[in-house]
Amino acid sequence: MKPSAKVSAVWTAFFLLVACGTVCAEQPAADEYRQMFRAGNFCIEFKDKWGERVLAGFKGMRMERTSYRFSESNAAWLNPLGKIFDGSGPQNPETLFKDGKYYQFVERDQAIMCDETELFGENLDPRQGWDTIAQKLALPDELAVFYWTDSFRKANEAVAAPQYVESFKKKHGAKEYDCDRYMGAIRTVAGDQDTKIVYDMLYDEGKLVWGESFIMRGETIYPVNTLEIYSMLGKQPTEAFKLAKKTKVYAAGTGDMSDLLEKPLQIGTMGEL
């Protein structure tokens, strides 16, 4: 090969690498999401197959609500007078973790509370759903690709943390998006890693809008979930943690006499705790 041909071959290789770098690399926002979740200060509004939800974290706190509009109550929106009589107070979350305590807001002005150290207590009423409360506050799987070690997630030893694999264009409905693909192996007892859980994160102009997950087993694809992201970075998480201070807080039922008499023990109000 002539020296000039060698030089041009090197340049061609260089340009190809640069071009590939711009097409194949992970979206820049992915790192922002990673930092945001690691710092624990975020507010996400999203919809998955179970419905619309708000999930927020702020200074070690976590909250979750299934109705995602949290600015004002529906009563206030429907009735302007409601603003005066009803809708002026903050709308409580449905699930909250604050200062080492989990809260479930069961009524508009009532919550039940369980300390995190007692969450595994055998005497807790299983119907109160304390066994799944941490999951409700955990990042959904599709977003957990950015922060797999989220403390509210219960790790499953069979599922390996997904790793970034490639980027490409992918259609969702009629529209085409920039897609980052992450994959994690689901290990068998024998150690095989042929079955994968795949997370496709779809971006529109650099913003995450869809998360799709499916299982890939050989040539067979099994759907898992589709997450629609309404907003990720836009909202201040502090707004999600405004609590109605008059909310009565009751201790989680442990099968004692107050449970039997169906008279839960009030331990204070949200403002006092």
Binding site: E157, K171, H172, C179, R187, E212, E219, Y222, P223
Partner: protein
């Protein structure tokens, strides 16, 4: 729980611990049953003689959900012995667990799960799915099935059946069972013991055979908690049928139960194939 039982269980574990952990023996009596399950066409009818324990917060649900029918969450079935039926053919499955009055059912058909219950009211049978005598399909939770193992009725039976599946066909969460002992009993029956340590719990399962026929399964699992207390569970299953003949009458919604599912029109978009649960020749992009 009776002390005698634990003495027997601990004794059994100690004896098996000293035996070299053999892989599934080349000609174990359980082999034909594993093969029946792998072929995907079968009927299993069983009695779970050990009522489900009350679920506590130590049995925390996994992120991906449960695959077995949640008998322990039914107030009615909680302290009762139950009967179960599992039948499968052509990728469809039907499972039920309950007693003569109340049965929890799941029909998995074409990538959809129908959950419903069946009640006996005098001479009448009533179903309850999303409403009285009607049901809507749910998307099948493939992830739970993959990670937790396939469901075979209640959680006990599911664990005992998944234990005999090959290591390469079940999630790492389910444990590496090895043949620990086999022998003959005084009554002429034979047994095979399999053992594994799963999540720090010692688990032993004894499969009883009458000739070549799987007749009973007994299992014990235990671990010591931080406070020194033993945490365990025993279970006895009576197998009424375990055959390669599917009961196809069960693989459809029963008469009197209406399918109320509002299904979306089929999308021709190629991308939607990724969400169809069907075979795809290539990875969807």
């Amino acid at each position: 729980m009776k002390r005698g039982f634990w003495h027997t269980a601990v004794g059994l574990l100690t004896v098996t611990a000293f035996l070299a952990p053999l892989p599934f023996a080349a000609a174990a009596k359980i082999d034909p049953y594993r093969e029946i399950l792998r072929q995907g066409a079968y009927t299993i009818r069983y009695d779970n003689l050990t009522p489900a324990p009350r679920v506590t917060n130590r049995d925390r649900a996994d992120l991906y959900g449960k695959s077995a029918l949640s008998v322990e969450r039914s107030d009615y079935l909680l302290h009762r012995q139950t009967k179960g039926v599992i039948t499968a053919a052509d990728g469809d499955r039907y499972e039920e667990v309950g007693d003569d009055k109340f049965v929890m059912c799941r029909l998995s058909k074409g990538g959809e799960d129908f959950f419903f219950t069946r009640y006996k009211k005098g001479d009448k049978t009533e179903y309850y799915g999303t409403g009285r005598n009607r049901v809507e399909a749910n998307e099948k939770n493939y992830f739970a099935e993959l990670v937790e193992g396939k469901s075979y009725g209640d959680a006990d039976m599911s664990a005992l059946i998944n234990a005999i599946m090959p290591d390469g066909e079940k999630s790492a969460k389910l444990g590496r069972y090895r043949l620990a002992a086999a022998g003959k009993l005084k009554d002429g029956g034979e047994y095979e013991d399999y053992r594994a340590v799963v999540d720090g719990k010692d688990k032993v399962i004894r499969y009883y055979f009458n000739g070549d026929k799987l007749a009973r399964i007994a299992s014990a699992s235990y671990s010591r908690r931080g406070d020194g207390k033993i945490d365990g569970r025993k279970c006895i299953i009576n197998i009424r049928e375990f055959s390669a003949t599917p009961d196809k009458t069960l693989l459809k919604l029963p008469e009197g139960l209406k399918d109320d599912t509002k299904r979306k029109a089929k999308n021709d978009d190629k991308n939607a194939a990724a969400h169809s649960g069907k075979n795809n020749a290539e990875v969807p992009r």
